[in-house]
């Protein structure tokens, strides 16, 4: 199933992230796909805030560090596989510990490792439309993801515009 939203600003993207973050309970995998500058780290910043991670922690890009961990209501593991050649590299990093742990996981450039992302993950595609404007498509299947996105959709409808 799909839900497509239009973000008109960085603020919109952070808000959407925050709503998603509020609805995470641990064990979720959020797979982000979108070109450079499309707002992946920005969306993650919102998710972190929604998960109750303190403003003291700047949500910085994990491109070089590969995995950033943040303590929240549940831990957030922020992965970036931009520099990896594929899922084999991630195996070498011991990703199973994160994938099957109690935290929520956000993966940037997820399309590079799509063969190992579980099908019940939440897939988010960010697309550049014009300067501040982005199309954000959320694709999901399974009960758990459906419940989360249903609530996200309701809150977006009531809070946006």
């Amino acid at each position: 199933m799909n839900l497509t939203l239009i973000s008109n600003s960085i603020g919109d993207t952070i808000n959407l992230g925050s709503i998603i973050g509020e609805n995470l309970n641990g064990g979720e995998i959020i797979a982000l796909t979108g070109e450079l500058g499309s707002g992946k780290t920005c969306l993650t910043r919102g998710i972190a805030r929604g998960m109750g991670i303190s403003e003291e922690f700047y949500i910085t890009s994990p491109t070089f560090t590969l995995i950033n961990e943040y303590p929240g209501r549940i831990p957030l593991y922020h992965l970036d596989v931009y520099r990896l050649s594929g899922s084999k590299d991630l195996e070498d990093l011991g990703y199973e510990e994160y994938f099957y742990g109690k935290g929520a996981i956000v993966i940037e450039w997820a399309e590079k490792i799509k063969d190992i992302i579980p099908p019940d993950s939440i897939f988010i595609y960010l697309k550049y439309l014009e300067e501040e404007k982005r199309e954000i498509e959320i694709s999901y299947e399974g009960d758990k993801a459906s419940k989360i996105i249903k609530r996200v959709n309701e809150e977006v409808l009531s809070k946006w515009h």
Binding site: G37, T41, Y58, T63, F64, T65, E69, D89, D92, L93
Partner: protein
């Protein structure tokens, strides 16, 4: 005192031997040595398993280059964090094993502190206190360094690190990897005023490079024609200056704010030639002395780990055999948070 340093926090597997915390006897970084003959064509990077494959050979090479054996080593220093746990554990476990086997002390070292300490391997050593800028692919931090091991964060990036801005900018323009080196080379002779890229977070000592990355994206998208080869040096020179400008400005601003007359620049991006030039140029007029290690000691290495280790060992610190690696380890805090 001879200290063997071991580093495996991220991409590089490295070992080095340092005498008395000031004299470099050897400095081996796996990806820089003759990989084809030594490692059968495997370039060690990222993965912890790759660190395991090469770490013993890297240590042996460091001992050989220094003309010593393990029997001559008085102490071991291993990177404890910050970094990837799986990668860190490789170096830290080897450090502990050698210490146990040879019955010599070992200590766990903070990688970022190591970057700053690299300056003590050069001829011109700064006196404390000073302001330090640590700038790499993963870090962009300004510290007040009151004394050896005494750090206070004055500023940091809120989104991307400067090294990442270089790499992603290069990627958007279809240039090679690593982006920092390509941009440094290509921008020579370019006009840095060709494109007006933004300087963000004016008035603060914190950094933000995400907006710069996005403005390059908009610049490319809004053009009606593709970037030509003639324009490229000017565009990258402009982009590079937007990064260099804020790094230099904020670091010197921090020094002035805290009335300090010395700044140390460290980390992989400190190898950038434009950054080095502009720092010297602008600091001179303000009466601030600038200390930058040679490029080989700016990028990740184990010599810098040995320097910090030497200091900790001389202060009587000893790592226990159950010392764990830590992924997040801000320098303001002596232990884990």
């Amino acid at each position: 005192m001879l200290v063997l340093g071991i580093e495996s926090s991220c991409d590089e597997t490295a070992a080095a031997v340092v005498s008395d915390g000031t004299s470099l006897l050897s400095n081996v970084v796996a990806s820089q040595i003759d990989v084809h003959s030594k490692f059968g064509g495997v370039v060690p990077e990222i993965a912890s398993r790759k660190h395991i494959e090469v770490i013993i050979q890297v240590i042996e090479q460091a001992l050989d280059d220094a003309g010593v054996t393990l029997d001559d080593i008085d102490g071991i220093a291993g990177t404890r964090g910050p970094g990837l746990i799986g990668s860190l554990l490789v170096g830290l476990s080897v450090a502990k094993s050698i210490a146990f086997m040879k019955d010599i002390p070992f200590v766990g070292v903070n990688h970022v502190e190591g970057h700053v300490a690299a300056i003590f391997l050069t001829e011109e050593k700064p006196e404390f206190p000073f302001v330090a800028l640590v700038v790499s692919g993963g870090h962009t931090n300004i510290y007040l360094v009151a004394d050896s091991g005494s750090f206070r964060t004055l500023g940091q990036t809120r989104d991307d690190a400067a090294g990442e801005a270089f790499d992603k900018g290069a990627k958007m323009l279809g240039l090679g990897y690593p982006g920092g080196i390509v941009i440094d080379r290509l921008s020579k002779g370019g006009n840095p005023a060709f494109v007006k890229f933004p300087r963000s977070m004016k008035g603060s000592i914190d950094f933000s490079f995400s907006g710069l990355k996005t403005s390059l994206l908009y610049y490319i998208k809004k053009r009606e024609t593709p970037v030509t080869e003639d324009e490229l040096p000017h565009i990258v020179a402009s982009y590079q200056d937007a990064i260099v400008d804020v790094l230099v400005d904020k670091t010197l601003k921090a020094a002035e704010e805290y009335s300090l007359s010395r700044v140390v620049i460290a980390g992989g991006v400190a190898a950038n030639s434009r950054l080095r030039d502009i720092f010297h140029e602008r600091a001179g007029g303000k009466g601030i002395e600038v200390f930058i290690p040679p490029p080989v000691l700016c990028t990740d290495n184990a010599a810098m780990i040995a320097v910090v280790g030497d200091n900790l060992l001389k202060r009587g610190e000893r790592g226990s055999f159950d010392l764990n690696a830590i992924s997040r380890w801000p320098l303001d805090f002596p232990g884990e948070i």
